[in-house]
């Protein structure tokens, strides 16, 4: 079920099964629900065998990029004589996304178990869970759970009596969206400003403290114990459309919708049923206008596109956007798209680390122009300027923050050009109440 709403019969509750149950937060409660059997099993396997099971399951990264998890783990070469690290990306900051927060709040031991399995599989003795600074409750819950796991001998120098060392530390960020970018997160963990690093070298070669590092998202790691418990074939069978997208996926839903919250569905679920049946459709008297399905960094969809989409990595790409982090943002017909796109641009301008010129200048100028259009001061030439800026911001910087700012601008102009034009010709926002008129 997806807290806080009641479970819907069409959901596939695996990661979210115990959301809302305070007992599942404790070590005893977690063990009663089958917890730490997978870690016990994993510590008796060879790392290569674990990596193969995860590869076979088809699990792909749930943080945004969708990279196959087993392949990522296989880049770490055991026995190279170097210390290896695992970073857990719990810096969930993508607007529209709040799934990792619920995993940590309700099932902290699921994340610890997945983290410990991954650390052992990649030859890392130390793992850091990097939690965004604003997540005070998930931080408290995770810290308490890690303490319990150490006291029970699950973590430490002799994890579950296996003779292997698995240390897990919780590390708090301090307010910076960019630290969700993997190399920025590593810089931040090292005590630096969160500037992304140039790749190559990739983290598997030179990551945290210059040593081989794997970084995984919270939801990805939380799925791993289920795969070991039930088998790769079981996970792979959870697939309603493209065989390259397997398993269950948590989607966070927000904006103008009847039942916001988290929903867990099998990959390939029809987006139309999701929006109207699970999420309850629009608010009374309203119609959906636009959806951003994968967090604010992916292209905007019209309702025609969204209603014919199947919810998996390939399905969203086929309809002009991306699955991203699974943060579904819905706007209804009362909302001004120009205003929201301008607000997203302001977000990226605020969060730019400012080391690349295209991003530092591009996000700021994009915001300035969009806000001028929204206020009624736009001209028809602004379209060309915005699209040229967007072009200069795409594929030209160290990380993809500036690409993420350009995506909603380009797709917004393509799909909602009439709204921009209405602002320009009417010299005011048509959605703003006309009290003075």
């Amino acid at each position: 079920m997806g807290y806080p709403h009641k479970p819907h019969p069409k959901e596939t509750p695996i990661l979210s099964k115990y959301f809302g149950e305070p007992q599942a937060r404790t070590l005893d409660g977690w063990k009663e629900r089958g917890g730490y059997r997978a870690l016990q099993q994993a510590l008796g396997m060879t790392p290569v065998d674990i990596v193969n099971v995860v590869k076979e399951s088809g699990l792909r990264g749930r943080g945004g990029a969708g990279f196959p998890t087993g392949s990522k783990w296989s880049f770490m070469k055991p026995g190279d004589g170097k210390a290896h690290y695992l970073c857990v990306n719990a810096d969930e900051s993508e607007p529209g996304t709040f799934k990792d927060r619920e995993i940590m709040r309700w099932t902290p031991h699921a994340l610890i178990e997945g983290t410990a399995i991954a650390a052992y599989a990649i030859g890392a003795e130390v793992a850091y869970i990097y939690i965004r600074g604003e997540f005070t409750e998930p931080l408290r819950v995770m810290e308490a759970a890690v303490k319990e796991a150490y006291a029970a001998g699950i973590l430490g120098n002799n994890a579950m009596g296996s003779g292997h060392r698995v240390d897990v530390h919780v590390h708090r960020g301090a307010g910076a969206y960019i630290c969700g970018e993997e190399t920025a997160l590593m810089n931040s963990l090292e005590g630096r400003r969160g500037n992304p690093r140039i790749k190559p070298p990739f983290p598997a070669v030179a990551g945290l403290f210059g040593l081989p590092t794997t970084i995984n998202n919270v939801e990805t790691l939380a799925a791993v114990p289920h795969i070991l418990n039930n088998g790769a074939a079981w996970y792979k069978a959870m697939c309603l459309s493209n065989p390259k997208s397997t398993g269950s996926k948590l989607f966070s839903v927000c904006g103008n919708v009847t039942r916001p919250g988290n929903y867990e569905v099998t990959m390939g679920f029809p987006f139309k049923d999701f929006l109207y049946d699970l999420c309850g459709g629009p608010l009374p008297g309203r119609k959906f206008k636009a959806v951003i399905p994968g967090g604010s960094s992916v292209p905007i969809q019209t309702m025609d596109e969204a209603e014919s989409t199947l919810m998996d990595y390939e399905g969203f790409v086929a309809k002009g956007t991306m699955l991203g982090s699974g943060g579904v943002i819905i706007f209804d017909d009362s909302q001004c798209m120009v205003k929201h796109i301008a607000r997203f641009a302001r977000f990226y301008a605020h969060e730019s680390c400012a080391q690349c010129t295209q991003c530092r200048e591009g996000t700021a100028w994009t915001t300035k122009i969009l806000e001028r259009i929204e206020a009624g001061g736009g001209t028809m030439q602004d379209f060309d300027t915005l699209l040229e800026l967007a072009d200069n911001m795409t594929g030209k910087t160290i990380c993809v923050l500036s690409d993420s700012c350009a995506a909603p601008v380009v797709s917004g102009i393509q799909k909602f050009k009439h709204e921009f034009e209405a602002h320009i010709t009417g010299k005011r926002c048509p959605f703003r109440a006309t009290a003075a008129a």
Binding site: P4, A83, E92, S93, E94, P95, G96, T97, F98, R101, R132, G133, E134, F135, T136, E137, H169, H171, R172, G173, A174, G175, A176, Y177, S188, L189, E190, G191, R192, R193, G194, F209, S252, V253, C254, G255, N256, P260, G261, N262, S296, G327, I329, F331, Q335, K339, H340, R343, F344, F347, H350, E351, C353
Partner: protein, 171 residues
């Protein structure tokens, strides 16, 4: 020049944060990382927990504890939005106004908070020293619009109507 004493002649000397139990906590923290520098963010959090903000003198003290330069520490402090570089109200209120919350009325929540706290503007502290209100980017609770944070406490689904009742809990 000795920076550690801090302050000009006639001012109260800077009392160090990392003594006694705080020093022990810092030492335990250092055991988690292969470098001292990696403990910088958590060390700054300890300073803010104890003092409410991170002063220039505190940055100097942290730099000495972690064998960094004061300028380096300041460079890191200024990168992250959550470290206060000046004193703030007893209750520091952060309101999410990013688009998903904006679509659900976050602007009205901000207006009402400013009105009812008596804060003249965003970032300004109320005359009674009780509140500071700021707008922040996505708090990661978009399904519970509008979320606000009062110090370390998260409050979800805030509407303008609920503001006065919420504020009354924070004396």
């Amino acid at each position: 020049m000795d920076h550690s004493s801090g302050g000009a002649i006639g001012e109260t000397p800077y009392p160090p944060v990392f003594v006694g139990a705080m020093k022990e906590e810092l030492d335990a923290l250092l055991g988690r990382y292969p470098t001292k520098m990696a403990a910088l963010l958590p060390t700054l959090w300890m300073v803010q927990r104890e003092r409410g903000w991170v002063s220039e003198e505190a940055m100097v003290e942290v730099s000495q504890e972690l064998e960094l330069t004061p300028a380096y520490v300041k460079g890191v402090v200024t990168f992250y939005t959550m470290y206060h570089q000046h004193p703030v109200g007893r209750y520091f209120i952060q309101v999410c106004t990013t688009s998903p919350c904006g679509a659900c009325g976050a602007e009205k929540v901000v207006e009402t908070l400013l009105e009812e706290t008596g804060c003249a503007d965003l970032g300004a502290t109320s005359p009674d020293g009780r509140f500071t209100v700021i707008e922040v980017e996505c708090l990661g609770a978009c399904g519970f619009a509008t979320p606000i944070m009062v110090n370390d406490e998260f409050i979800e689904s805030v509407t303008p109507e609920k503001v006065s009742q919420i504020l009354s809990q924070f004396k």
